[in-house]
Amino acid sequence: MVYFTCFLGILTRELLRFWQQRSRLISALVRPLLWLVVFAAGFRAALGVAIIPPYETYITYEVYIVPGLAGVIMLFNGMQSSLSMVYDREMGSMKVLLTSPMPRSFLLVSKLLAGAFISTLQVYAFFVIAWILDVQAEPIGYLVVLPALVLTALMLGALGLLLSSFIKQLENFAGVMNFVVFPMFFLSSALYPLWKMQESSEWLYQLCLFNPFTHAVELIRFAMYSQFNAQALAVTLSCTIAFIGLAIWGYDPKRGMVRRKVGG
């Protein structure tokens, strides 16, 4: 009961903060919608999509990129939460969380779950708009995809948390965008099928396969069509566990996460 109360408090705070910063929702949706409406319109003709699993027939480019754009929302959200963790640490409010008597691992996982909940809400808001724009999957797919979305949000949130434990200053965060977010995004199957990448460059294709975001996107893609991709699940789940473990290690006081921050 005590743990549930604590988790509920963390979730409530994240929801309240999200509600206070409604522009976050708008900006989170604008990016994928630009890809869906503008980019896809321009590249539809140039990038023909062959019949590849899980699709059983030819699909439009818009349909292809919807799972990838769902992943992108969660990728940026994970990094946003990383940014807010660094900000909280710089401003000192992280200390309120870390001096709670609850186990630190529980607090960090609760924060991750709360972030994953908000990410998933944003993805469903995107699905609704895509549906209105006539980019649709089977209705049951929107339900089946839920666990895949939560797992992906947890993996990316944990990656953000891990990064935040190593980023010393807010100013260093631009590096995360250049060296983590964009490579993860472009070296994945979010915008183009991997066979297209393989046609162009074998080593880029291998990098894409190495990228956990590729597998998260494929997990979402298959789930949206009520299919199961075991390899994608195995990679995404393993990376989630590894990132969470490393993030908890990163926030261990033995390592002195706040060492550089106390002074006085």
Binding site: I10, R17, M91, S93, K95, L98, G256
Partner: protein, 245 residues
């Protein structure tokens, strides 16, 4: 050791190769106000971070209510109320929401939380500000909210890290009076770090920290009598000068 609310023994800590605290031994008793005095960089905030387990000591031990803090982490943190040097309130949330968040981190049930928020806000004269966003409060009120928050779960030891910095004289005086009442009436032990010497009163227990070492732990008026000085400023200056030599 078992009588002490906080017992620190031979505590040492360093950042990399740079020693920050060495051989710190301090014992705090229930219901007393301890003023931790030292210049910037003396190690006050580091000591606080060690007490509230944001850092782990490299040597020595800390006991809260007789229990080792590293072995009984949850118990130890439950006994602590903490006001950090930097404000840690969420500016976009209301006063009640900030307090509610803290209560949930302490695992306090909803009904008790609401009652305690009412009690603490009333005590600090902020009952009518519960639904205001923290951003709308002035510095003095924000500090009061932080102290109310730190007391919400009824801690045995209140840690104040330069809690009055940036406040005007009247607000500081009112807050200092109020804090000493907490010790006298509620039996809470307070450890308050400051470099504002005028905040230390003759009846306070004085701890002087210079260059990472405890130079004095004694009741303030007794320390002044022993050194033959009349004010805390004179006492502090004398200690500082002898340290420099």
């Amino acid at each position: 050791m078992s009588d002490a609310v906080l017992a620190i023994e031979q505590l040492g800590f360093q950042y990399g190769e740079k020693p920050v605290l060495s051989d710190i031994s301090v014992s705090l008793q229930q219901g007393k106000y301890y003023a931790l005095l030292g210049p910037n960089g003396a190690g006050k905030s580091t000591l606080f971070s060690l007490i509230c387990q944001l850092l782990r000591p490299l040597s020595g031990s800390l006991h809260i209510m007789g229990k080792n803090t590293q072995q009984h982490t949850r118990f130890a943190l439950k006994q602590l109320g903490i006001v950090f040097q930097q404000s840690t309130l969420d500016l976009d949330l209301t006063v009640a929401q900030n307090l509610g968040y803290h209560a949930s981190l302490q695992g306090m049930p909803g009904a008790i939380t609401r009652q305690r928020i009412d009690e603490e806000l009333t005590r600090f004269g902020l009952a009518d500000r519960a639904k205001d966003k923290v951003r709308a409060l002035n510095g003095g009120h924000r500090r009061r909210v932080e102290i109310a928050r730190a007391l919400l779960h009824k801690p045995r030891l209140l840690l104040l890290d330069e809690a009055t910095v940036g406040l005007d004289q009247n607000t500081r005086d009112a807050m200092n009076t109020h804090l000493r009442e907490l010790c006298d009436i509620e039996g809470i032990t307070i450890l308050s770090s400051t470099h504002l010497i005028d905040e230390v009163k003759p009846n306070d227990e004085l701890i002087v920290l210079l260059k990472g070492k405890i130079k004095l732990q004694q009741r303030c008026k007794e320390a002044m009598a022993a050194l033959g000085v009349e004010t805390v400023q004179q006492l502090y200056r004398q200690m500082h000068v002898s340290e420099e030599r």
